[in-house]
């Protein structure tokens, strides 16, 4: 099950402001709290945060909303960011890198899903091996990448820990087909 949250709508409902900008820590905290309540109420495995109608995103708000949501994420639930402009993505990447975490984003122009933040090369390649949407075992990823079992296992464990890959009965998949 998935749910889509329009972030600009949450901002309007949470903070009494005529502007569409996600700025200040106080705003970020208020918006994150509302999003967390929505996540808890829906209990969806995949939540899409849509930034399409949002104006500016500053570093403080990016940290309060995106970084803290990802850091406090329940294992086995996933967040996908979409509708981000380049400047918004820039602020979000900055805070993700600061916390050494990653996020899944759907590219605004191409529609493809990729990871942003502190992404190690092996994590990127292992994620690429899963992009077809198939469930693959560690052996399957090792075969597809030409790696040893250990190397594939390490990369997949990192991706699972960062909540960008779903693990089930020893197999892994990118969590977009839920």
């Amino acid at each position: 099950m998935r749910q889509t949250i329009q972030v600009e709508q949450v901002l309007r409902e949470t903070v009494q402001t005529p502007y569409r900008d996600l700025v200040t820590r106080a705003t970020g905290r208020a918006v994150r709290t509302s999003i967390e309540q929505a996540l808890e109420a829906a209990g969806a495995m995949l939540t899409v945060l849509d930034f399409s109608e949002v104006g500016l995103v500053d570093f403080s708000c990016a940290d309060e909303i995106v970084a803290k949501l990802l850091l406090n994420q329940t294992a086995g639930t996933f967040v996908l960011l979409q509708g981000l402009r380049e400047d918004q993505l820039d602020a979000i990447e900055h805070v993700l890198d600061h916390h050494a975490i990653v996020a899944l984003i759907r590219d605004r122009s191409s529609g493809t899903v990729r990871m942003v933040g502190r992404v190690e090369p092996d994590m990127r390649d292992a994620f690429g091996a899963l992009e077809t949407g198939e469930m693959l075992s560690t052996d399957g990823v090792a075969a597809r990448t030409g790696w040893t079992f250990e190397r594939a296992r390490t990369a997949l464990e990192s991706l699972t820990r960062l909540n960008v890959v779903r693990a089930s009965d020893g197999s892994y998949t990118v969590p977009l087909a839920v």
Binding site: V15, D21, D58, F59, H98
Partner: protein, 296 residues
């Protein structure tokens, strides 16, 4: 206290010397009669001085307005007098004129006290910023949003750390002596606790005998530490620096008796200055220059 004829971040030190010479509760006279020009830094610094006197319970200082009519008109357009009349006894004729945000004054002098004020500042700046930064300075369009982000973070320092209100103003003008190019300047100033007192509880022990205004600025600006234990804090100044490094901009922060500068290639400022005359709170200046015309 004589207001420097050309009042910017450099002549500010002349201003602080006379400001620090007396007590905050002494009756003061700010003499701006011979003033010819003030940068946004100069304007918000004067208001900060008035605010510090008011918050210390001092008598309302007198303020003699500039003699030159065009200077009075310009200061009116910046919104300076509207706020100055709440902090000073104004002596002299102040023109009745509405602030003008369609000119070089991108953001008139605006008080910053709470998170909502930062929303207002960021909301107001965006249209004018696009016109100046992309249209006039020749930076890529995406630089406009980064500029608003830097402005937002600079203003939030007041809300999060100062313990009192402050002021922000943004102007575009030509840096003739230092650069020979157009610039956009953000000036943010408050009369609050300053960086040293804000960081004292968490950083003093780490610095030991070195602890002071300069060490506090170093901790915040170079090491990106914050008084909050939240590991996500301290990213505002880091984000401002990242933006400035991309567009060859300059950051200076003065607090207490010290001043730190992130110096771009076009400037010869000193990275860290200590033992200055004390001044309340913190004063931040961000300078974004026009892109150099490509030759050939």
């Amino acid at each position: 206290m004589e207001i420097p004829a050309k009042f910017d971040d450099r002549s500010f030190e002349q201003f602080t010397q006379s400001f620090a010479a007396g007590g905050l509760t002494d009756k003061m006279v700010f003499d701006a009669r011979t003033a010819q020009w003030a940068s946004p830094f100069g304007l918000v610094a004067m208001l900060t001085a008035g605010q510090a006197v008011k918050e210390a319970g001092g008598a309302m200082p007198a303020f003699t307005v500039p003699i030159a009519e065009e200077v009075r008109r310009y200061w009116t357009r910046t919104g300076f007098f509207r706020h100055a009349m709440e902090l000073f006894e104004l002596h002299g004729k102040v023109p009745k004129q509405k602030p003008d945000t369609q000119s070089d004054v991108l953001l008139e002098v605006t008080p910053v006290r709470a998170s909502e004020d930062v929303h207002t500042v960021v909301g107001r700046i965006q249209e004018g910023a696009a016109r100046i930064i992309h249209g006039e300075l020749g930076l890529e369009a995406k630089a406009t949003m980064g500029f608003a982000m830097a402005l937002s973070e600079a203003c939030q320092n007041i809300v999060e750390h100062a313990g009192t209100g402050g002021w922000v103003s943004v102007h575009a003008y030509t840096f003739r002596r230092r650069l020979g190019r157009r610039v956009v300047v953000i000036a943010v100033s408050d009369a609050g606790v300053g960086f040293r007192r804000s960081l004292e509880a968490t950083q003093q022990r780490r610095f030991g005998d070195r602890w002071g205004d300069a060490a506090a600025l170093e901790a915040a600006v170079i090491q990106h530490t914050s008084r909050f234990r939240d590991p996500g804090r301290g990213q505002g100044i880091a984000g401002i620096k990242r933006y400035l490094s991309r567009w060859d901009g300059k950051l200076t922060i003065r607090s207490g008796t010290a001043r730190i500068a992130i110096v771009p290639s076009w400037d010869d400022d000193v990275p860290l200055t200590e033992h200055l005359s004390p001044f309340p709170g913190a004063q931040v200046q961000i300078v974004i220059p026009a892109q150099e015309a490509k030759s050939g």
